[in-house]
C-alpha cells in the first residue's frame, strides 16, 4: 500500500501537485532526504508478519458474536415476561367473562339440585 510520494496516483492525484509539497524546491522524487527515508524507514518484515499472526490468533479466539438479528431482537426480550403475564391474565379474564351469567344463577333448578345433592345429600334433593 506504500505509495511513492512523488507519484501519488489514484486518490492523491491532482491535489499533490505544486503546493502539495512542503518545499517546492525539493520534489520528493529528487529529494535525497525523502529517498533516504524510503530506503531505511521500514520495519523488519518478520515483525509485521508476527504482529499479523498474533492479531489473527486474537480475532479467532474472540467469542463468537451474536448475529445481528439476535442482537436487534435482544432489546425486546425484556418485554417478553411482562407481555406473557399480561396475556395470561387477559386469557383468564376472557375465560371467566365468556361464561354466561345465567348459568351461574342460584335460581337454576339444575344447579340447585346438584348443590343440594352434593351438600345436603340425596334426601334434600328429593324434597326439592
Amino acid at each position: 500500500m506504500t505509495k511513492n510520494p512523488g507519484n501519488n496516483s489514484g486518490s492523491n492525484s491532482g491535489s499533490n501537485s505544486g503546493k502539495g509539497y512542503p518545499d517546492t524546491n525539493n520534489d520528493p522524487l529528487n529529494d535525497p532526504l525523502a529517498a533516504l527515508l524510503q530506503q531505511h524507514w521500514h520495519t523488519p518484515a518478520h515483525a509485521e508478519a508476527k504482529a499479523q499472526a498474533r492479531l489473527i490468533a486474537r480475532v479467532q479466539a474472540m467469542p463468537a458474536a451474536p448475529t445481528p438479528h439476535l442482537l436487534s431482537a435482544s432489546k425486546y426480550w425484556r418485554w417478553l415476561g411482562p407481555s406473557m403475564a399480561l396475556a395470561a391474565g387477559l386469557g383468564t379474564w376472557l375465560l371467566f367473562a365468556s361464561v354466561e351469567p345465567s348459568r351461574l344463577s342460584i335460581d337454576d333448578p339444575l344447579l340447585q339440585a346438584s348443590i343440594g345433592e352434593s351438600v345436603l345429600g340425596p334426601s334434600y334433593s328429593e324434597e326439592l
Binding site: 500500500m1 506504500t2 492523491n12 502539495g20 527515508l37 520495519t43 518484515a45 499479523q52 492479531l55
Partner: protein, 186 residues
Amino acid sequence: LKTQTPDQSEAHLVARIAAQDASAFALLIEQHHGWAYRLAWRICGQQRDAEDIVQEAFLKLWTKAAHFDSSRGQFKSWFARIITNQALDGRRQLKPIETLEAAYDIADSAPTPEQCAQHQDVHRALATLPARQRAALALFYMDGFTMVEVAALLETNEKAVESLLSRGRAALRALWSKTPEMRLQR
C-alpha cells in the same frame, strides 16, 4: 460481470464487517495490516506498542464498522486516522523510542556494514523528532497522503502540516550532517 474498484470492495467489506462477518474481517486484516502496522510503528517507534495500536484499531473496526461512511472518503484514510490518533495518544509518547530493534533484516537484504550504520543513523535521528513530526513525515513521505489528507488525519490545517514537515526535515538534515556516513552520501 460487475467490476468493483478497490474503494467499492473495501466499502463492501466494511459493510460485511458491520454485519459481524468474520471472513470479511480476516480479509480486511490481510489487506491492510501491513501499512497500518508500519504507520503505527513509524509514529510510536516501538514494535510492541505498534502491535497494540493496530490490534486496538482493528478491534475498534470490528465494533464500529457501521460508522464508516464511504461517501465521506476512502477506507484507508478513515483507518489511518484511527491508527494516528491511537499512536499519538499522550500516554504512549512518554516511552522512549527503540532504535536498536530497527536493525536491518539481515536475511532479507544482506546489507553492508556502511548501510547498517546509515540505517541506524536514520532511525536514531527519527527517534529524536516529536511524534507529530514523525507522523507528518510518515503519512506524507511513506504512505503517500497529500497535505490536505495529512492535515485531516492530524486534525489540523495545511499550514501546520507544512510547518511540521519543514521542521522535521530541517531537524533530520541537521542531525544527519553530523554523521560521517550521511555526509558521504550527501
